[in-house]
Subunit: 320 residues, 2 copies
């Protein structure tokens, strides 16, 4: 590990090599902390994910959490438990996958733990970010009247996983399925969008989509003590997902509503700010779609041509 | 989880329930971060450790790392992967074991992740502490002439593990072995000693003993770019360990030199400060023993009646 990630950060006082790491916080910023497990047979399957992809995705999912707070990622700690009858050297490929993201966002590995694992590969990352107190966006600031937005498109990752499970191949697929597979294996954390929304005080509440729109919108609404209405017709769908569903003869909405691991940002904006936000996003080339609105009460509802129905919360189940 | 650990900390801005936790740092303090894995079949065996003991020890080993920096523990993040065919409810016992330590040191659970585990229980804790920059003690400050000290006694935990492995019993043993078993299952992190040594500027370098004296003294000496000499006759040994070794007909020194998981503090003190440190420790009821000195050069040596021999580094192997 030594080397690549350990490029000297002037603010890093002690990194790997002591009992604990120590850094000098940025003036006026608060620490943000998030942690995520990534377990073979639960979060990934080595039949169709490479070690580089596993490393990348574990770090990406943590980055997505910092993005959802409006924060800037700074440092991470990595715990790895390596299964028997495998070459420790091989696991350097995990770091290679992380290096790409770490370089892109300027984050530094400052600590960790390694161990044998009796069976299967286990990863845990704790990511430390920073945010100004006046910029921090929680899940609890949504108010009735706010518009609900989501970045990117929905349901792609779930479809990508489905394709991988059918094929059980560990390589880039061609054609329409490759986009969906990439969305599952190599999610793009929406760092710039999250930071922009927070620093411009455009988002009143924000969450990243790990469990699926239905589940995560419930989390946001519960923390904000409000209800949400989503317009089914407005859900942003990729051409790849539409093509896949039409070829497979399946409805597209279950993917968009319940598909997990898209790692898009779901956020709310005051009604009077929504046009400004859309304009600013367009200028920056960020993709976002208004999908509904916050109303008073509790629960999450879906509006279709048939009227308003309660949205059954069923997050996309990880493949085990 | 909600409840017990989540006693409101005025400085905690966002705890469990958002994408990331956020806290207000103490003025004049720097953040400290450490992370430790605890894996069934590697770090613990449920044949002879209860879930309460496993929870306690995982948090204790992280606390010990903060103690070795001279820091104050504040918050922790807990990742747990639970094996199949087990009751999730049962795992509340992990928290019960942690609660005791968390209460004692005023630390608050601020985040985490839970998952299924395909096999065996996996824990990972990231502990956040704080320390003033002028108090922080690293592994790298030892200089030739410094005296080497260790808190408590050495080798007990390794003997305790040996007894447990022979007996494979999950209960408190009676008689002389119970102290040794407790030392393995319920290590006492030396929080007060570490903080006192650092805040009084008494320790020039410090490390906690997780891998065993031989291995950890090498780490300290390497980081400080010095050599160490340990007097075999001065190693602090408990009466329980002496009795156990004499009953088993085994030499005691391999336990003291290579036995892991004692979680005592190994530290160095300027020669001119050593008497003062000893006096202050005695006044506070802290146990410490001078075991050798730092010299120039590299390597770690053991001084016996036969002269100076290189100390073979062989850390106590975790039981797999």
């Amino acid at each position: 590990v030594r080397g690549s990630f350990l490029k000297r950060s002037r603010r890093l006082i002690l990194g790997i090599g002591d009992d604990a790491a120590c850094y000098k916080p940025t003036d006026g910023f608060l620490p943000l902390l998030t942690t995520d497990l990534s377990i073979e047979g639960v979060h990934f399957d080595r039949h169709y994910a490479t070690l580089e992809q596993i490393g990348y995705k574990t770090l990406a999912t943590n980055l997505s959490d910092i993005a959802a707070m409006g924060g800037i990622p700074r440092y991470f700690l990595l715990s790895v438990a390596i299964p028997p009858d495998s070459q420790v050297k091989e696991y350097k490929r995990l770091y290679r996958g992380m290096k790409r993201l770490a370089g892109q966002w300027g984050i530094v590995l400052i600590g960790g733990d390694t161990s044998a694992s009796p069976q299967g590969l286990f990863l845990n990352i704790t990511l430390v970010g920073e945010v100004e107190s006046e910029v921090l966006v929680s899940r609890s600031g949504a108010r009735p009247g706010d518009r609900i937005y989501v970045t990117g498109t929905l349901g792609d990752a779930a479809a990508g996983l489905e394709i991988l499970k059918k094929k059980r191949v560990k390589r880039e697929s061609k054609g329409r399925s490759s986009h969906l597979i990439r969305r599952h294996l190599l999610p793009l954390p929406r760092m710039e969008e999250g930071r922009f929304l927070a620093s411009q005080h455009l988002a009143t509440a924000m969450i990243d989509l790990s469990d699926g729109l239905a589940t995560d919108l419930v989390h946001l609404c519960e923390e904000s003590r409000v209800a949400g209405e989503v317009d089914l017709e407005r859900l942003p769908l990729s051409r790849s997902l539409r093509n896949y569903c039409s070829a497979e003869g399946r409805p597209v909405y279950p993917y968009a509503l319940s598909g997990g691991e898209d790692y898009e940002l779901l956020y709310t904006v005051r009604e009077g700010q929504s046009r400004r936000m859309e304009t600013l996003f367009r200028e920056r080339g960020f993709k976002t779609t208004e999908i509904g609105r916050i109303v008073s009460g509790r629960g999450v509802w879906i509006r279709t041509a048939k009227g308003r129905l309660p949205l059954r919360v069923r997050g996309f189940e990880h493949f085990v």
